[in-house]
Symmetry: C2
DNA sequence: GCTTTTCATGTTAACGATTTCATTCTGTGA
DNA sequence: TCACAGAATGAAATCGTTAACATGAAAAGC
């Protein structure tokens, strides 16, 4: 039962049915009603594939994320999906596992399926981007592309790093260990810069020894702390994200340290787990959901108006004080 | 640059190009090579939409989940996506937020977009299912549909409930509080049955007072425990999932109880957070990733062989002992 | 040497919508 | 009454593939 059958049923041409369906031209009220009735009677549903072949757009958008089992990305995905669904768009989920190869493969697949746009939280990013040179609207989230002219939404990571460090300093910490992602990913870099600037502003000397470059991985953090235990002195930890902060707290508690009495800890992201850990993890909260929501909205705007220039937004962060700091 | 252009470039007909592309018929080696060269030269990529219009399938599958920000579902989604991607399928993510209305809407949208199959972790399920009567292969995961003839993958929830309860009993618990989802969702029901049977087998009287029917929600669990604090006596908790177990542990610790000395706790699912909570949460581990992987594999099988009858599998569970029990 | 297979390829009609252009009909002003 | 504008509708081309059928040449069987 295609559009032709509906047309026959209503005693009109397929063209007219299409016009009723899309409100693309004036149709006589009586005719319109007849068509509507025919549609209802036949239970007709337009074939989206056929429609897309003609229009070269598929009412779908692609989301490329490094790791959907990470609460941060999952929350972003959820918000995006929710926002898109309101406008009748569907979402292709592409999980790269931080694998560049796979990222490129996904971009091609998405373009072949004529998605209307792509939201990108990249693993590597820089090179991948040239794959969709102007073919299609793109919004980058969280990780900034090394490229002009791309819309980008992220949080105030630099300010967050500064804020976290300042909180520890004003709580009396003087030797603050920064645990950071070993990779030079933008948000992490910004947090690190914030940390360094804050130390400077408060006349605390930056000590390279007090920076742990580790994979973003609970085990890696534990191993690092076990390795330096007894050898490295510190009274505060600023972890690049909550997962690392929690692993650090977990390890230190097991080693018999007291948190926050001996060592204070601040994380980043405000994941649920941090609030339920005992003691609660003080953290820099990103507006994670808003991050997703905005990126979806921005993408839809770009789709509606392809001439629009790139949109760049930075969402504020806030310190959430919990038991892991004094 | 469509298939026609490639054909012209190679000096053959579009049909031949199609044949080379899909290996759908014999082509002379020389011709094949010429076509391949033309494809390479022109950078031609087949239009998947046009292809799908013809084939009535889109090399995509739909995943309907209640809540992607929940680690359990996210892990399943990740495994599914990984498995599908290997076979060149893409995944539509549909997050229902346990909303039945939305679920129905999604099913329609997915059918309109000619997905090749659907993986379903339902909110309500029973009624929704009739929406795709035989139109398309479906696999249900975790929550069993009230319907014959549907493929279904889940964990041994009954055994898990039994195992958890037995562990508490053999650790000396006699008054075991079961905290369960207030809704009559299948997996939860099975865990509850396992709990009851185990009590029976060990001659412990089943006490209705010791069953907390609450929404699956951290706050709800806390509020419940605060409400019964001092009024209800128990020495063990079997929580229907780890999120509730963690919330319970968190609340009890804040109230000054000692875990596991005074109250022992067992959860379900083995989420990461449980391992890093202090004390670690003893839990019944589901093979969450395998759950996702298998359901994807089963769906692909059903797609390849539509005549195949329903496939039903139950994956084993295992107790993981941690600090929250003795 | 002639008919019959087999192989390699091409022609053409779908798939189901949208859109350009053409057509018919009604009503208005000269 | 005629010309013309404007409204409502339809016919046919198009989007880029695939598949059923047709064709012609070469190989095989008698």
């Amino acid at each position: 039962m295609g559009i032709k059958d509906v047309a026959r049923l209503a005693g009109v041409s397929p063209t007219t049915v299409s016009r009723v369906l899309n409100n693309s031209a004036k149709v006589h009220p009586d005719t319109r009603e007849a068509v509507l009735r025919a549609i209802k009677e036949s239970g007709y549903r337009p074939n989206q594939i056929a429609r897309s072949l003609r229009l070269r757009r598929f009412r779908s958008i692609g989301l490329i994320v490094p790791d959907i089992s990470n609460e941060f990305f999952a929350t972003i995905a959820q918000a995006i999906e929710d926002e898109l669904q309101k406008e009748g768009y569907n979402l292709f989920l592409c999980n790269t596992g931080e694998d560049r190869q796979r990222e490129r493969k996904y971009i091609k697949a998405l373009l072949d399926k004529f998605v209307d746009g792509i939201i990108f939280v990249s693993a590597g990013f820089d090179e991948s981007l040239d794959l969709f040179q102007d073919e299609i609207p793109v919004v980058a989230v969280d990780r900034k592309p090394n490229m002009e002219g791309v819309s980008f939404i992220d949080s105030a990571n630099y300010e967050g790093g500064y804020l976290a460090t300042k909180h520890l300093i004003s709580n009396g910490c003087r030797r603050i260990l920064m645990i950071r992602d070993e990779r030079e990913v933008r948000p992490m870099k910004a947090r690190f810069e914030g940390y360094k600037q804050c130390l400077k502003d408060y006349n605390i000397e930056y000590d390279e020894e007090l920076v742990a470059w580790v994979p973003v991985d609970r085990t890696a953090v534990r191993e690092y702390l076990l390795k330096v235990n007894g050898l490295l002195e510190f009274d505060g930890i600023f972890a690049g994200n909550d997962v690392m902060a929690i692993s650090a707290a977990h390890t230190l508690l097991k080693l018999g340290y007291q948190v926050p009495e001996q060592i204070q800890i601040v994380g980043f992201d405000n994941i649920t787990e941090g609030a339920y850990f005992v003691p609660g993890i003080t953290t820099i909260a990103q507006q994670t959901e808003a991050l997703g929501r905005r990126s979806a909205q921005v993408l839809l705007e770009l789709i509606k108006d392809p001439e629009r220039g790139p949109i760049i937004e930075e969402l504020p962060v806030a310190l959430i004080k919990r038991g892991s700091t004094r």
